[in-house]
Point group: C2
């Protein structure tokens, strides 16, 4: 357990962030909940128990080895700028999806191609941006189980992708190597498609699974 | 059987087009193979048997009620312009994926957002463009079976999407309503991701399945 990296989850009191926190804590990771308000983060960390800590986003990012960004797209850029110095040299896992209200079920990718590319551009090459968890419904995580879907993981460096694939295997069926960061556009766009499918098919959390793989690819 | 629409498959001698043709012929549809060369199309149609016909792309498009475009992105625009008049008032099913060689496993969506949107822009509002079949590996179709994946179907009109969902149910596990045409970007981008997964995981035809749906949604 001591060999496991310390994970900060910025937006850790939100729906996805708190769901990820529960699963990683259960798997023995040290988790720091980050929030705009250190008080709120600390109160929530106390609720989570099992050694979870809370801090404001910058403090959480500073104390962690891996920083997960689970905030709405509307706060994405502001929080990236806020933590830019604190995440240099680290792996930043971006779960942001570029939804454009009110038409969140219509794909509207940003000019940069993806939210992940925006993060990489803002943070610079000193940060290894990996993008993942775009299509994970948080409901199952809160219920104490793994999400019934695969997690596509994107990043420009295989070693960083592999770290996040390991984290994904703790929260969903299987983390899958999706290739370079530019490919994040596929999973980000898919989120809008899945939101629409939830509405049309009246289901709470449609996800995706990759077919045609020989066996579970989880390590 | 007589109530089933006549389907033209432009690029019908290619890998995906011929695989789709085999499945739809087996399901009792009248299929016209379209190709640049009418001779080549007719020879292949003869091989297929069971009433299949062959013609050049324009002739095939003219004689059909539903026109499926299964050509490489490099020929996409030229063939659309060629058949523009012949497809007015019809459903055009676009399976084109905007791959940019040599980096076909890197998502590189066009400025218009998707190949499907390019088709709609070129053909005008008189044509109901529906996009689908981006992520279907043709191998299983040629082996006589259905592809082990779901097919996301996009279009701006529900009635047209439903027609193509019916066609998708004949060739893959399940056709799924993916919403408006702009959402085609998700499935088109995913094709590059799946090409990369095929390489990295050494599999012949990775696909996707939508999880979280209550039961098979095939009609």
């Amino acid at each position: 357990m001591s060999a496991k990296p310390i994970i900060a989850i910025l937006g850790g009191t939100g729906d996805l962030g708190s769901g990820l926190a529960k699963r990683w804590i259960a798997a023995g990771y040290s988790v720091i909940i980050g929030s705009r308000s250190a008080d709120k983060a600390q109160a929530f960390a106390k609720e989570l128990g099992r050694g979870a800590r809370g801090d404001d986003n910058v403090g959480a990012a500073r104390s962690a080895e891996i920083v997960v960004l689970a905030v709405p797209f509307g706060s994405h850029e502001a929080i990236l700028l806020e933590v830019k110095e604190a995440v240099q040299g680290k792996v930043l896992v971006d779960a942001a999806v570029p939804l454009v209200p009110p038409k969140v079920s219509v794909v509207q990718l940003p000019a940069e191609g993806s939210a992940a590319q925006i993060a990489q551009n803002l943070l610079g090459e000193g940060v290894r941006v990996v993008s993942a968890f775009h299509n994970v419904g948080a409901t199952k995580l809160h219920a104490g189980g793994k999400a019934d879907c695969d997690v596509l993981v994107f990043g420009n460096e295989k070693a960083s992708r592999d770290i996040v694939i390991g984290l994904a295997n703790e929260v969903a069926s299987c983390g899958i190597d999706g290739g370079v960061l530019a490919n994040s556009a596929a999973a980000e766009a898919l989120t809008s498609v899945l939101i629409g499918i939830n509405r049309r098919y009246k289901v709470p959390g449609a996800g995706i699974r990759i077919t045609g793989l020989p066996t579970p690819t989880a390590s």
